[in-house]
Symmetry: C2
């Protein structure tokens, strides 16, 4: 069983991911996280002595792991099911937050910062999601270049679509990209 300390820490990391996916990186700080999570400021500083970059890095890794687990499980039933689970996860995230939350990995990627720890973590998360999709496509018969290209297109287009959905306050863009991504997967694996 997890120690109480580990639980507090995990709750704070999940809180940081939630703040970043709503407000972006600039508006996130250890102080704001304490407020957002209802945790004492002292304990928040205790868990994140590296401050905002540490928080952001761990939040990105947390979100990366969560999605990778869902994706990995769905990909056992093939790349089409993987795509559908990926889309469904994002639909749930944005609709349950009334279109006011997106992806913390994207948020960290688009804000310039002198410290690149969180940015490096974001690059790793994107690469990991791409590699899960690529491997599944390869296993189902796609050629090497095609598998790579479709994997990158899938991750990039879903990330971009989440932003379109937030701007439009509608999940319609997710419905629009699905048939075309499915067609590419079917074509590459048949």
């Amino acid at each position: 069983m997890a120690e109480p300390n580990a639980k507090t820490r995990e709750r704070l990391v999940a809180g940081a991911a939630d703040m970043i996916r709503r407000r972006g990186l600039s508006a996130t700080s250890v102080r704001e996280l304490a407020k957002h999570s209802g945790a004492p400021l002292g304990s928040t500083y205790h868990y994140f002595p590296g401050g905002k970059q540490q928080l952001a890095t761990e939040a990105v890794e947390f979100a990366g792991d969560t999605i990778a687990r869902t994706l990995d499980r769905a990909l056992e039933r093939g790349p089409l099911e993987g795509l559908r689970a990926f889309l469904a996860t994002w639909r749930k995230t944005i609709t349950s937050a009334d279109f006011r939350a997106g992806c913390p990995v994207l948020a960290v990627s688009i804000e310039d910062s002198a410290d690149t720890a969180a940015l490096d973590a974001a690059a790793d998360v994107f690469a990991r999601w791409e590699s899960l999709l690529e491997r599944s496509l390869r296993r189902h018969g796609a050629g090497r270049a095609e598998a790579r290209q479709i994997a990158t297109l899938t991750v990039a287009s879903i990330e971009g679509t989440v932003a379109l959905c937030r701007a439009k306050r509608s999940a319609q863009p997710l419905d629009r990209i699905r048939p075309q991504l499915e067609a590419l997967i079917v074509h590459a694996t048949s």
Copy 2:
């Protein structure tokens, strides 16, 4: 000819777009814009009495118009040429800024704000880019649903890819998505 005032104003709007595409919306303010553009604070407030939301709205419209003009011109030579010009514009933006700048329209879309003026402008810009692509696809023989889907996928995937490029500090993701988007366009219009 433009009045000197109109020129100052335009320069400030371009400066705001540049700040937002680098740092995001939270880190942007009338005060920061004056610093970033080397303009007197008083005149900056004079041009943007509505403060940050006005700045952000005009910056989004400015970026939207700039890209729409490039896209519209390239689409005269067909949807494939439109796609290539769209990709080339973004490649130039991110590489010339050493991967430290992206799209201000995306940046505004992913930060929660009580005032939705800039968000509404972002939704309009995405819809305008999609509609330019959709019309060109239709004109070249694509079916209605297909044209809409490919247009949304193109805009969303390019926006997402710019974020991937920033995280990875590489333009490779743009090279990866191109062949698959081209295949969809060729298939829909042949």
